[in-house]
């Protein structure tokens, strides 16, 4: 099987161009000759990626290879260079291949690269949509500035099930959040929206939820009165990391039915007052430390404090110094100090994409509610 086809310049009219791309895909699966081993084509979905940075090419190849190994998909990479002069759109086709575990067959997923410049980037949806594999989910990963070219994004809405975007490098947070919130309301029930800031929270959410699963602490949710979140951020991600902490707070508030009463800033910390359905007051406190990059980033420490009839105790989750473990501990008088260590490897981009692809149906409603609460919390301290 060919590893990479020749580059095709799209100048044959709409139908001709698409037919030629299909031919390239066919060519990919035609054995080159005797002795060329056959491969198995695997496809569980479509993954469309929108990119604007030339220096991203190698990184993205690596990430996509990891993604399709775990979740074989037809990948369509859209390289859009709006600042370059108009040129004919170029297309090439290749495959990501790997051997099955224990020396099984060679398994491959197709990848189509499309390069568009200048005004021709507007042509991308018209080229991509006819190339989607039917009957399997369509995920759109907006690798670069989401909603910067909203007109292009809008043309995909009827053809996709899920959009994933990054939220870490956001500037002008209130404006960005308001636009996303408006978009999510409009797409509700049609296209699931998740972001990497949300996906990065998954291991933390799992640990928090697990704590309340078993019989020992399941009733303590009603006694939860204070939550403290500490995170580290490099200078260029200050707003994005803050919003990640707000997403975690928003998730707790929406899942536990807390209503926001107000917020305040105090140096490096923000504080929120919330009200539970049973009349309890809850306080969420978020603090951060700026760290030079590279360094430990994101959520570092969570603390949950419980009070009931004058007695109190706390549950904490800390990242360890090597940044590979989570350390879970309970401080409760008269009880055994819970001290669990569990693996916590910082998620790679491939992991984040996969989390989004695997969980988008189940988590998007939860995300939307958490996002709405996080947006309200942001407004309260803006």
């Amino acid at each position: 099987m060919a590893a990479l086809t020749d580059t095709l310049v799209l100048d044959h009219g709409a139908a001709g161009n698409l037919r030629r791309i299909e031919e390239l895909l066919m060519l990919l699966w035609t054995p080159a000759g005797e002795g060329d081993s056959t491969s198995v084509r695997a496809c569980m979905g479509n993954l469309i990626v929108y990119l604007e940075r030339e220096d991203d090419r190698n990184d993205i190849e690596y990430i996509i290879h990891e993604v399709v190994r775990a979740r074989p998909s037809r990948v369509i990479l859209m390289f859009a260079y709006p600042d370059l002069p108009d040129e004919p759109v170029q297309v090439s086709v290749s495959a990501h291949c790997w051997l099955e575990e224990h020396g099984g067959e060679r398994v491959c997923s197709e990848q189509i690269r499309i390069r568009a410049t200048g005004r021709r980037i507007q042509d991308l949806p018209g080229i991509v949509v006819p190339l989607l594999v039917s009957d399997v989910p369509v995920h759109l990963w907006w690798r670069d500035r989401f909603l910067e070219h909203q007109d292009i994004f809008e043309k995909f809405i009827d053809s996709i099930d899920h959009v994933i975007y990054e939220g870490l490098h956001w500037k002008k947070l209130p404006e960005k959040v308001a636009r996303i919130e408006e978009l999510m309301k409009r797409l509700q029930g049609r296209v699931a929206v998740t972001n990497f800031n949300w996906s990065r929270l998954l291991p933390w959410q799992q640990r928090i939820a697990q704590f309340f699963d078993h019989g020992l602490y399941d009733r303590e949710l009603d006694n939860l009165c204070r939550v403290s979140i500490e995170y580290h951020t490099p200078p260029q991600q200050t707003e994005g990391r803050f919003f990640q902490a707000l997403l975690l707070s928003g998730w707790l508030a929406s899942q536990l039915g807390w209503k926001l009463r107000g917020g305040s800033r105090e140096g490096n910390r923000v504080h929120y007052q919330l009200h539970a359905k049973d009349g309890r007051d809850i306080r969420i406190s978020i603090g951060h430390k700026e760290m030079p990059s590279p360094g430990t980033k994101g959520i570092q420490k969570l603390r949950f404090e419980f009070e009931h009839r004058g007695a109190s105790f706390a549950f904490g989750i800390d990242r360890d110094q090597e940044n590979q473990m989570l350390f879970l501990q309970v401080n409760k008088e008269g009880a055994c100090g819970l001290a669990q260590k569990v693996r916590h490897v910082s998620a790679s981009f491939a992991t984040l994409v996969l989390r989004g692809m695997e969980n988008y149906q189940s988590s998007s409603m939860v995300f939307e509610r958490a996002f709405a609460n996080a947006a309200a919390m942001l407004t309260a301290v803006s």
Binding site: E101, D213, C336, Q340, R343
Partner: protein
């Protein structure tokens, strides 16, 4: 757990309540190779209870520190060990030396468990795991009762490894004795086949895909073949295997589980009792074999010396620790019928053997041929029937054989295979069966464990065969050469029905 509002949208991987896992037979192979590695992997993924301890019990004197070091080596031999995780995990491992018959040893064990409850917060919950020889099951259970270890503030469960008896009488007796100590709901009879993803997928495949269930009956299915082929011979287990043979080792338990899951009616709910009720009904509906049936529908044989994988291998009777006069079967093929409306007239063929040319476990649903008239009007055209194959191992997956027209001016039909493989689509290996089963036992979910009446119903069927074989004791068994497809009599069994075994 379903009441936990923070669980919405997150995977519902169950984290059990705090507990102590007490492993009897802690120096044995199962503990080293399966149980401790499975527990370590669960702990690393954060799936072990927040407070837990593992107490290994065995006769061999050693300290807890020595036990921890041995267990670390055992895990390292299978996988890479992360030091920080292991250092925390091993703090939960303890060793208790005791003869299984020593009453004072159980009293000391009780004291240790109470101490762990106080120090490790394990809340009186106990999971006892019998990783011992079968003759110790009743002994340990009785001692647990005598020491009062089967009751207390928390829950107490007992995990039992197969074999669950060697015939109907012994299975009943074992069940009776175990139930004196633990309620049936607290008895977890483990069949590691049920921990395999593909086995669990049988129900999903059947009941989640609406296109198959309407075809899953005697109107559309010609017959079912369940095959468990092994390349391996005795591999040092000759003494054990000679006691059990192919029937007790594989057919009566693992293969009957596969049959039950394939043939069962949809359960009223996906809860443990509803599923196990349906499995038991299948076993109850299997037509008992008469003496004549046993002669004509059951084939047993032994492998003789042969060539396999480019090597000469000895016959069963030449294997170490096997008597040269042994009458133990290493191959068993049989035809069963299920007398209910769904399966009336559909034979289920079971086949299992050692030293066969290819390793593999599968369930093959052979559909009836469609009407041939359309394609046979002018000249005969062979239209192969459809087949659906659920592969359990290796290459876990599902394949479907359909007919297609060969391109060209003439009407030629060719069967092609649509093949789904877990490894190709999901790209990672399924979790080890013991991880799932240990987690379920700690969490109190018996769905993937065998209920007492299942074992007895299965033995009821096989007991008749054992009795018939008893009468033939001393007669040499038919032989098949190692590396060949099995005895001719197995082929003849199918040929008499106008069918053939699948080549796997």
């Amino acid at each position: 757990m379903s009441d936990n509002p923070l669980r919405e949208g997150l995977s519902h991987v169950r984290v059990p309540e705090p507990c102590v896992l007490v492993i009897f037979g802690a120096t044995g192979d199962l503990t080293h190779r399966k149980l401790i590695p499975a527990l370590y992997h669960l702990a690393a993924r954060g799936l072990m209870p927040p407070y837990f301890a593992v107490v290994g019990v065995a006769r061999r004197p050693k300290t807890t520190e020595e036990f921890r070091a041995e267990m670390r080596k055992a895990v390292e031999s299978e996988d890479e060990v992360e030091r920080a995780l292991w250092d925390r995990f091993e703090q939960s491992l303890f060793y208790h030396v005791s003869e299984f018959t020593d009453t004072s040893g159980y009293q000391k064990l009780k004291q240790l468990l109470e101490k762990l409850d106080r120090e490790q917060g394990t809340a009186g919950n106990r999971l006892y795991y019998l990783a011992t020889a079968p003759d110790q099951f009743e002994v340990v259970a009785a001692q647990l009762q005598q020491a009062g270890l089967n009751k207390g503030g928390g829950w107490q469960r007992l995990v039992v490894e197969k074999p669950f008896g060697v015939d109907l009488a012994s299975a009943r007796e074992l069940n009776k004795k175990l139930r004196r100590v633990f309620a049936e709901k607290d008895l977890y009879r483990i069949d590691h086949y049920l921990g395999k993803e593909t086995v669990q997928n049988i129900m999903v495949f059947r009941f989640a895909n609406a296109i198959f269930e309407p075809l899953w009956n005697e109107q559309h299915i010609d017959h079912v073949q369940i095959t468990v082929n092994e390349i391996l011979g005795m591999e040092g287990r000759g003494k054990f295997y000679e006691q059990v043979g192919a029937m007790r080792d594989m057919v009566q338990n693992h293969m009957m589980q596969l049959l039950s899951l394939t043939a069962m009616e949809p359960p009223v709910a996906l809860d443990p009792e509803a599923i196990r009720d349906e499995k038991v009904k299948v076993l109850r509906n299997i037509r008992p074999l008469s003496d004549d049936d046993i002669k004509t529908s059951v084939v047993r044989a032994q492998y003789s010396a042969g060539s396999l994988g480019g090597e000469e291998v000895p016959g069963f009777l030449e294997e170490p620790n096997v008597s040269p006069e042994s009458g133990t079967e290493t191959f068993l093929a049989m035809r069963l019928r299920i007398d209910n409306i769904r399966w009336a007239g559909v034979p289920f063929y079971l086949r299992h053997g050692k030293r066969l040319p290819r390793y593999g476990t599968e369930i093959a649903i052979q559909f009836k041929s469609g009407p041939q008239v359309l394609f046979n009007r002018n000249q005969p055209v062979e239209v192969p029937p459809n087949a659906l194959v659920i592969r359990i191992q290796p290459d876990e997956g599902i394949a479907f054989r359909i007919d297609t027209k060969v391109p060209g001016p003439e009407m030629r039909i060719n069967a092609v295979k649509m093949d789904f493989r877990y490894g190709q689509v999901y790209g990672h290996e399924s979790p080890e069966a013991y991880e799932r089963l240990l987690l379920d036992a700690m969490a109190g979910d018996p769905t993937l464990f065998i209920r007492g009446d299942e074992t007895e119903e299965s033995w009821l069927l096989f007991d008749r065969i054992l009795k018939a074989w008893e009468q033939q004791k001393g007669a040499p068994l038919p032989q098949y050469a190692a590396g060949e497809r099995g005895p001719e009599a197995a082929d003849a069994l199918m040929e008499r029905d106008g069918r053939a075994w699948r080549r796997i």
